[in-house]
């Protein structure tokens, strides 16, 4: 109900954000599952244990849910996450996505190569990335990229390019048109972006 009242007074971005928080999947108990997730993706602080593990806390609900579905269906290949999702039901996936998306985004201190990051800005322009990613803060099925873990982001961009991550075919063709150095430059730029 809180979401309704706030909806009245806040702008558009918030309208979408709060509406994601009002999904009710109370019926599904995910406590046991969460213990496992937290061992890699972090506990209440939302801080992943390793730099190759993405931040989930504060990520978009719909995006997270879709990733879990895609790992399970094999559209996104990853030895760890395929195993993690094999036994999850759709409702459990929704509940997990809801749990993480309702948390605050976790701020990290990534080790940015500033020179590379400066080049990244123009590569992002050439790729017209902001056409969908806007200011890189995430919206529904488009994930937040600003401040994401650097090694993870670079790896997943390469996975798009090398057709390991197949769950977004259009992005595969897009990443194809960039050199590995461009990808690194963009990853550095995006990881270093903080909230406006």
């Amino acid at each position: 109900m809180i979401s309704f009242v706030r909806l009245q007074f806040v702008g558009l971005a918030a309208c979408i954000f709060f509406s994601t928080a009002s999904i009710s999947s109370d019926a599904v108990d995910i406590k046991d599952k969460l213990v496992l997730c937290e061992s890699c993706h972090g506990g209440e602080d939302g801080m992943p244990v390793n730099a190759d593990t993405p931040i989930l806390a504060g990520q978009e609900y719909y995006y997270l849910y879709v990733q879990l579905k895609d790992y399970k269906a094999g559209r996104r290949a990853n030895p760890i996450m395929s195993g993690m999702t094999a036994a999850l039901s759709k409702d459990e996936m929704k509940a997990l996505a809801e749990y993480y998306s309702s948390m605050e985004w976790t701020k990290i201190q990534p080790e940015i190569d500033q020179e590379l990051a400066d080049k990244g800005g123009s590569a992002l322009g050439a790729g017209q990335c902001s056409q969908c990613h806007s200011k890189y803060q995430g919206d529904s099925r488009v994930p937040r990229l600003a401040g994401q873990q650097l090694p993870y982001m670079l790896q997943t961009m390469k996975d798009f390019k090398n057709k390991v991550r197949l769950n977004s075919p259009a992005k595969g063709s897009l990443m194809d048109s960039f050199s590995d150095e461009d990808l690194a430059a963009m990853a550095n730029y995006l990881s270093g972006l903080q909230q406006p």
């Binding site: 309704f4 909806l7 558009l12 579905k69 269906a73 559209r75 977004s168 075919p169 259009a170 063709s173």
Partner: protein, 567 residues
């Protein structure tokens, strides 16, 4: 069946709007503008084409001519046209709404499904509704909405999360809500509904996501679905057509397709076939006419053998039952997304024997206006091309092939207009050269599924035009080039004028007979919405939204501007 818990929703609406009503209590009295006619009768809707006060349909009338019968604003005085008022919405994003005007009250919508009721003479806000968007939305081409439909004392709007809403027109209170499709699988709504005889008619977006398209009729009182026509036929193979409507070879490999069909079966379940715009209604024949968009995946034909019926087609169905009457397919097995989107128009046309017969017009992304016999949907003629065509139909390749028009070509979703006295239809067009790339990938369950990419060729010039076509002959009468590709819509009036806007913020009036420009106004943001006209207390207004466009990335804004001729 409507998925709707009445108690819960009413409570929700009460909470959302409680504060708004108290804050604007003095403005609610404007609702008295409804006068005695606070209800839109079927008779009013039927006669809308001759109604010089209201603007009751997104495309003006059931025939969808977008022809406004008043000539108070005309070729003589249009130079004196000035803004009467400007209303700014809360949403600075792509604006495609057609204002609907009922007895001095205007209803407009914005991106993300807000509705505003305004005093049409002053621009003052009466109420404001925000749809409570679900967490899952999947849409192509921007969070657009193209407007409401009106019937009796209710309003109807489709939503980005694939619902139909029925609201109280006086207060903006939600009355019912029906889910039309699963947004997780790519269904979404941006078109305005059409209401006739108590039925709310609506299509669906999702041709970029592997949906199975439809047109549905809902009961206006309850939201219950009365019938569904699936736009992809269970046997979608068709006649294995090798040539398009204009007789050009589409270079299909029919043997390979037949082999694929034997292997995979009919692809109809994920074949796309969105319906982006309003159906035209033939009240006498009790039929509706609409066009069906591209097959999924857009560029990759290898996963969908056959003609892919009824994608890229004009289709007619019975209004009462939704049963198929006839169709005509423009491009079988399309792999260029040069589909059918602009709403069809019903007018009498000359057939090839010179006799006048009931006809249907459609403006295609190919750049042709197609003229049909209304009886059996057959093609009578197609117009000269309104935009350059080159290299048609070269097949897409991995590295890309250049072909004109580009996939945003010709008429797009923009409605055309007709001046029947002149026998002319007016279309706004895009010229945006592109290369077509194919890359096969399996159905991704509700994610963008283009089967490749369309790439704009950056070094080539882009532009637009307004073209007047004599639909009795197919000849172009006049053409005016514009700086940028055009998207939005166009309105003709009995004052001898046509009105259309541009991405650079210009809103212009032209002489409908000659195309000479008679008036212009800089709106400050892209004018990419279809204009409308209405009168209040004997004063005629022209109204248009200036909020830019996502698809072509035209400058965003949030203005609704009403113009009138100053005394």
């Amino acid at each position: 069946m409507p998925v709707f818990d009445k108690k819960r929703l009413c409570l929700a609406v009460g909470l959302v709007f409680g504060a708004a009503f108290t804050a604007h209590a003095q403005e609610v009295e404007n609702a008295s503008n409804f006068g005695d006619m606070n209800t839109v009768s079927q008779d009013m809707l039927n006669r809308a084409g001759n109604d010089g006060n209201n603007f009751l349909h997104t495309n003006g009338n059931y025939e969808q001519t977008r022809y406004y019968p008043s000539k108070q604003i005309n070729t003589q005085n249009v130079k004196d046209l000035r803004p009467a008022w400007i209303f700014q919405t809360e949403i600075v994003e792509s604006l495609e709404t057609t204002p609907i005007v009922v007895n001095g009250i205007m209803y407009i919508t914005t991106s993300f499904n807000h509705i505003y009721a305004l005093n049409a003479a002053t621009g003052e806000q009466i109420w404001h509704f925000k749809h409570k968007m679900g967490p899952i939305t999947t849409y192509c081409c921007g969070p657009n909405n193209r407007g409401v439909a009106v019937y009796e004392d209710m309003l109807f709007m489709g939503t980005l999360d694939a619902k139909m809403l029925g609201l109280d027109a006086k207060t903006g209170k939600l009355i019912w809500e029906t889910e039309l499709g699963d947004p997780e699988l790519g269904y979404s709504e941006t078109m305005a509904p059409t209401v006739v005889n108590g039925k709310v008619l609506i299509g669906t977006n999702g041709g970029e996501y592997g949906i199975r398209g439809f047109v549905k009729a809902l009961d206006y009182k309850s939201g219950e679905v009365l019938w569904t026509f699936h736009t992809t036929a269970e046997d979608s193979t068709g006649v294995w057509a090798t040539h398009d409507a204009t007789g050009r070879d589409m270079l299909r490999d029919i043997d390979a397709e037949k082999a694929k069909l034997a292997e995979m079966g009919d692809p109809y379940k994920t074949l796309g076939g969105g319906v982006w715009q309003n159906p035209a209604v033939d009240l006498d024949a009790n039929r509706i006419y609409f066009v069906v968009g591209n097959p999924s995946p857009d560029l990759d034909g290898s996963l969908r053998p056959g003609d892919n019926l009824y994608t890229n087609s004009l289709v007619s169905v019975d209004l009462d039952s939704g049963e198929y009457v006839c169709h005509y397919q423009y491009i079988a097995h399309d792999v260029w997304d040069l589909d059918a989107v602009s709403p069809p128009i019903l007018v009498d046309v000359k057939n090839n024997d010179g006799d006048m017969v009931p006809g249907v017009l459609h403006g295609g992304k190919t750049g042709h206006v197609y003229v049909h016999n209304r009886d059996d949907c057959s093609l009578i003629r197609f117009s000269e091309a309104m935009v350059p065509q080159e290299n048609m139909w070269v097949l897409p390749t991995k590295d890309g092939e250049r072909m004109l028009p580009g996939a945003n070509g010709g008429v797009e979703w923009s409605p055309m207009t007709v001046d029947e006295k002149l026998g002319l239809t007016y279309a706004i067009n895009l010229h945006q050269p592109m290369t077509y790339h194919v890359e096969s990938s399996p159905y991704p369950e509700g994610k963008l599924w283009l089967g490749g990419a369309f790439k704009v060729i950056p070094e080539e010039q882009q532009w637009g035009n307004i073209t007047a076509v004599d639909y009795h002959t197919g000849k172009i009468r006049w053409k005016v080039k514009t700086q940028q590709p055009m998207i939005g819509g166009i309105l003709a009036t009995a004052g001898g004028l046509v009105f259309a806007g541009e991405g650079n913020g210009m809103f212009k009036a032209y002489d409908s007979e000659t195309g000479s420009q008679l008036w212009r106004f800089q709106a400050g943001a892209g004018v990419n919405a279809p204009p409308a006209s209405y009168s209040v207390d004997g004063q005629q207004y022209i109204v248009v939204g200036a909020g830019g466009n996502t698809q072509l990335n035209y400058k965003r804004g949030n203005n609704i501007i009403a113009f009138t001729v100053s005394d």
